[in-house]
């Protein structure tokens, strides 16, 4: 995955919000990552440690919140947690492409000072 690009976008977004809030430094960032995005948290953390240097987030810590996959079955309207990559209704044994959760990749909040 393009974790470096994701971290670059995250840092740019975080700096913009920090400046808008009148902050001069970012002390922490909370990132929400869905299990079904294919994004590898360890690679995000590694890229963050390298790319934060020289930004307002130079001394910031990164908190990654994982979000599990949730599928919705068209046949029986059951909402179920998807284990791994594929969402299969446990009641009907039918796969669904309707994911209600697990594709998140968002900057939730940051702490500024």
């Amino acid at each position: 995955m393009h974790e470096v690009g994701i971290v670059q976008s995250t840092l740019a977004m975080a700096e913009r919000h920090a400046r808008n809030a009148g902050g001069s430094a970012i002390s922490s960032l909370l990132l929400r990552v869905g299990d079904m995005t294919g994004v590898v948290p360890e690679a995000i953390e590694h890229a963050f440690d390298v790319l934060k240097i020289g930004t307002l987030a130079e001394n910031a810590s990164l908190v990654i919140e994982r979000v599990g996959g949730i599928g919705w079955c068209e046949g029986c309207s059951l909402e179920f947690s998807a284990d791994g990559w594929i969402a299969i209704c446990p009641r009907c044994a039918v796969p669904t492409g309707d994911l209600r959760s697990g594709l998140e990749l968002e900057l939730v909040s940051l702490e500024v000072s």
Partner: protein, 237 residues
């Protein structure tokens, strides 16, 4: 600088200014998604039907396009992305089609801004269909909406029937999946039934097509389906 909170005051125990929490709740892809929507509006305003072709390197995107451009009764243009070289563009221009090559450098996917820049150099008013041949990659293009109407993922027979299980996000995000190089099924010991089963589990809503650009098998159906999709394309803004 205080390394506890990064605020510039030292030491940490001696300062008690409040660290404010700024709520953001914004998708990391928000910027690309906005640009993609802008592209979509532009394409629709011009009545252009846009197909984003994705696959791993060597699955046959360029070969499929070469054949398709000769068969499809719709005037088409191509934007082709590669890390380096314009070899694909040279191949495709031989069909008499307008082709723009985007060299992405080290980037492993096309994004909406690159497509917007490339499309700016095409005379879209003369086109009915725009094919975007994405960078060969089964991972990253999944996350980047380009403003296309149709995302088509190619899966070539030599790659093996289990590819959809190994790279679910891209297959899941596809409207169509095209199994290519079906003339090699026997030579590769390709388990077609297993492949269709895997696709059904990973991408239950995707339309599945099977073809060989080399022998021409399945090409008529592919072109017919493209024409049908073109005719029922969303129009206006």
């Amino acid at each position: 600088m205080c390394i506890e909170c990064g605020c510039g005051q030292q030491p940490h125990e001696k300062h008690d200014h409040p660290h404010r929490v700024v709520s953001v709740h914004e998708s990391i892809f928000a910027d690309n998604d906005r640009r993609a929507e802008r592209n979509r509006g532009y394409f629709r305003a011009h009545g252009l039907f846009v197909v984003n072709l994705v696959s791993s390197p060597g699955a046959g995107k360029t070969a499929l396009l070469e054949k398709t451009l000769g068969l499809l009764p719709l005037r088409s243009g191509v934007v082709v992305g590669d890390l380096e070289t314009d070899l694909d563009a040279i191949r495709l221009r031989k069909t008499g089609t307008s082709v723009v090559q985007v060299a992405t450098g080290t980037l492993c996917h096309l994004d909406a801004a690159m497509v917007a820049r490339a499309v700016g150099t095409l005379n879209v008013k003369t086109l009915a269909v725009l094919f975007i041949e994405n960078v060969g990659n089964l991972v990253c293009p999944a996350a980047f909406d380009l403003g296309e109407d149709l995302r088509v993922t190619l899966l070539s027979v030599p790659e093996g029937e289990d590819k959809p299980l190994k790279y679910p996000p891209l297959f899941r995000s596809s409207n169509w999946v095209v199994v290519t190089k079906i003339d090699l099924e026997e030579a590769c010991g390709f388990d077609r039934e297993a492949c269709l089963g895997h696709l059904g589990r990973v991408a239950p809503k995707a339309r599945i097509l099977e073809l060989s650009s080399k022998t021409g098998a399945g090409m008529d159906q592919w072109c017919d389906e493209l024409v049908r999709a073109y005719e029922s394309r969303p129009k206006g803004l």
